[in-house]
Amino acid sequence: MDPQEAQKLAAELEVEMMADMYNRMTSSCHKKCISTRYDTGDLEKGEAVCIDRCVAKYLDIHEQIGKKLTEMSQTDEEAMSK
């Protein structure tokens, strides 16, 4: 694989993983925020507020977990190099 192709694949992977994260987030927040009574097609006010908070919180937590995973893998590597 030449470096240019590798870079293109890496960029595609980033887009794909961002889309995967987005899909998991909407699925998770849908369950937490949107009522399953379908007597009307409109979002209620409370549902809209819930979506906004849920997205913000999900992204915060995604970031925290990223840091945690990096931390944990560093501890593992230190333990192995001893």
């Binding site: 097609g41 409109d42 979506i51 992204l59 970031e63």
Partner: protein, 76 residues
């Protein structure tokens, strides 16, 4: 828009379309006593699709608002 991002857009639409059918079918169709959707089922399906689509637009809007901050923090 070039052809590759147009395909991406079609794909994103089709994934939403497929998952919407799955979710609304699962929630609105509760028995198989009839071959054709009943009036109640049809009305439930329409409201469900509309709500999910409005929900999706709200998700996208909020996501677009939040990501610049997130990317900025990551690059600091």
């Amino acid at each position: 828009m070039d052809e590759s991002s147009q395909l991406r857009k079609i794909k994103d639409f089709l994934i939403i379309y497929n998952s919407l059918t799955e979710r609304c079918f699962t929630r609105c169709v509760t028995n198989m006593n009839h071959r054709y959707p009943t009036k109640d089922e049809t009305s439930c399906i329409h409201n469900c699709a509309e709500r999910f689509q409005k929900g999706n637009q709200r998700f996208m809007k909020q996501f677009m608002k939040m990501t610049p901050e997130m990317v900025q923090r990551r690059n600091e």
